[in-house]
């Protein structure tokens, strides 16, 4: 590792500092697991007591957009991983390209989710507070409960995506200034870990939202 890279005066070397930053991100993600974890546990717990209502709610979700978005977000992570490989070889241009593609796919995800799917759900009277909720009868309460989880979880996931997109913009800007090289690219790795985590959260939400209610 090149010794010209500046590092904090509490560290022996730049590479030691880099590994420390990566450790910090993993620890933060442990905290994030304990943030989304209770939400998902609460979801499953509530579903356990209202299975029919949750199924009725789940069947009203837009499977095609959800599935398309799953492809979009997994592809974005894949491209990002490619970008990391490029910067490891010192190829800044292609790393910027990969990060930009990731960013565009992230925006596509957000546009589909909040520009198309949410308005559609709300137009179909699926917002939990809707006066004339689409699902009526004995399953109404459970279905409303399902949509509370749906909106809270997708909103929180969306906030994480927005933060991720901000981080991508920052990376692209720094890479453009020539901050990264094969020797120093810690922020690229750290943001990548975060982006993959947001991806994994979606992979957990996808079956909960779109698939389980459609089961036999």
């Amino acid at each position: 590792m090149s010794s010209t890279v500046a590092h904090g005066f509490q560290y022996e070397s730049a590479s030691y500092q880099a590994q420390t930053a990566i450790a910090g991100m993993w620890l933060f993600l442990a905290s994030e697991v304990m943030f989304f974890g209770p939400l998902i546990l609460t979801w499953i717990f509530s579903r356990h007591w209202n299975p029919v209502g949750f199924d009725a709610g789940g069947r009203e979700t837009d499977l095609s957009i959800g599935t398309l978005n799953t492809f979009v977000i997994v592809t974005s992570s894949c491209l990002y991983a490619l970008g990391v490989q490029f910067i490891r070889q010192g190829n800044v241009r292609w790393m910027i390209l990969c990060c930009s593609a990731t960013l565009v796919l992230g925006l596509v995800f957000l546009a589909l989710k909040f520009g198309v799917e949410w308005p559609e759900d709300i137009a179909h009277h699926l917002f939990p507070t809707a006066a004339h909720f689409k699902i009526t009868g004995s399953t109404e309460g459970g279905a409303r409960l399902f949509f509370i989880f749906y909106f809270v979880a997708t909103a929180l996931h969306g906030v994480h995506m927005v933060v991720g997109i901000g981080l991508l913009l920052w990376l692209i800007r720094r890479a453009g200034r020539g901050d990264f090289s094969s020797g120093y690219h810690t922020p690229v790795i750290v943001v990548g870990i975060y982006w993959s985590f947001v991806d994994v959260v979606w992979l957990t939400l996808y079956p909960l939202i779109y698939l389980i209610g459609r089961g036999p």
């Binding site: 010794s3 904090g8 005066f9 509490q10 560290y11 022996e12 070397s13 030691y16 590994q19 420390t20 930053a21 450790a23 910090g24 620890l27 933060f28 442990a30 905290s31 994030e32 304990m34 943030f35 989304f36 974890g37 209770p38 939400l39 609460t42 717990f45 509530s46 007591w49 209202n50 209502g53 939990p128 507070t129 109404e140 309460g141 459970g142 409303r144 409960l145 509370i148 989880f149 809270v152 929180l156």
Partner: protein, 549 residues
Amino acid sequence: MSTTPADSVRISARAAAGSYLTDGVTLRSWLLTTDHKRIALLYLGSITVFFFIGGVAAALVRLNLVVPQGLLGSAESYNRLFTLHGVIMVWFFLVPAVPVTLGNFLVPLMLGARDLAFPRLNLFTWYLFIAGGAITLWALFVGGIDTGWTFYTPLSTMYSKGHVVMAAVGIFISGFASIATGVNFIVSIHRLRAPGLSWYRMPVFLWSIYSVSVLLVLATPVLAITLLLLAAERLFHIGVFDPAIGGDPLLFQHLFWFYSHPAVYIMILPGFGVVSEIIPTFSSKSLFGYKFIVWASISIAVISFFVWGHHMFVAGTSVYSAVLFSILSYLVAVPSAIKVFNWLGTMHKGFIRFDAPMLYALGFIGLFTIGGLTGLWVAALAADVHLTQTFFVVAHFHYIMVGGMVSAFFGGLHFWWPKITGRMYPEMWARIAALVMFIGFNFTFFPQFILGYLGMPRRSFSYLPEFQVLNVFSSAGASILAAAYLLPLAYLTWSLFHGERAPANPWGATGLEWQTASPPPTVNFVETPVVTCGPYAYPPPETVHQRNV
């Protein structure tokens, strides 16, 4: 350490500039500092403000309870007062107090490091804390909240008046300060130990901070999501805790206590760490059973995640789960008791000096033991049915939190004050304050055990006339306690300007932080220290005896 020549020049230039206190004197050099020692002082100032705001609320609560029908006029304002007291004291004093002040200051020093792993993140946490605190205070003063600090649903979501959402937002934000602080400490302890500082050579204070950090990182996010669901339910009047649509109000209590019971240990574990440093120093003796104390801290952190159900014995949970939680709660008493015995073992045959920090530490042991043992009463299923929601619980909690944690905080503050400020405080005044605090505390809270046992409910604006005598006792004690808290504020501030200059190691303590100057230079150690022995390498008492004869 492989520092480049350029680094060495830079570092010795900064060291020559004097202490961290004089390295930059502008407001900007404080508000934009990344020096862990300066951030510790920023935090110290802020939590002192929160402590006195919470304290004033407590004083008013005690004032109200002097007469059975209540002095303050309305039950509503009383409810708002004790909520303000609880919210401020728990989240803006007790949870952060030791980690962000003493922890921030000492973790790098004890590690033999120049700073924490992420200095800018460290500063950012202070701004988060201040923002969260300001929002919460605003909510508490503008509208007030009458739910108590526990925010139980459906009162908090459907019926309560006031700014519940705003307060939740403030606590949510300051929670992220806690998480980031925890991440910073854990990573620093893993990555920045000086050469030779193996895990079992770390002082117990570092182990305590490590255990606390694990709790901060893993428990705080649970509170965050819980408050978020609570705020959503309050805003939309429909939510996951709402039984009308199939939600479960008990679920809130489960989630809340899944955070808040570990949070009790977040509050007390750093106190254990502080006391474990003070007692060997003022007994001139190695800490007895070092590894037991270390593993007791770790096991308290782990077990604390599995005892939350003991807050819900009368909430309608299953009897079988209640039995299980009762047993698990007894289990957590074991490591706590191990610590107490080891502190006593440390003092046994030691040369005990009764300096102010030691007085606080001794007070801590006594009060924590009473608090811990009465904890077993309320952890016992049958007894809890009688004692829950009475003043007994209030007394128990305050013995741990005020008797234990606040004593430890003051002990630590006095112990490391010479290191932090480079000044000695007036010893006689400090001893007087420690004694008055101990007396005032017992005066205030011991009557509450009796009141609770007799059945006086907590969180009640008025009470039966037969409870008045003990309540007057308690309120009188509270005024003594208040005076005892004002004393250090006065003489510590005085010492900043007129105190004697402190030597590097005024107490004859071991530990890396005492090897550098008081106050330390910005870089902490000009030469990175090399550790060759355990943390409490005091000479064996026998040799000290002979020397002194």
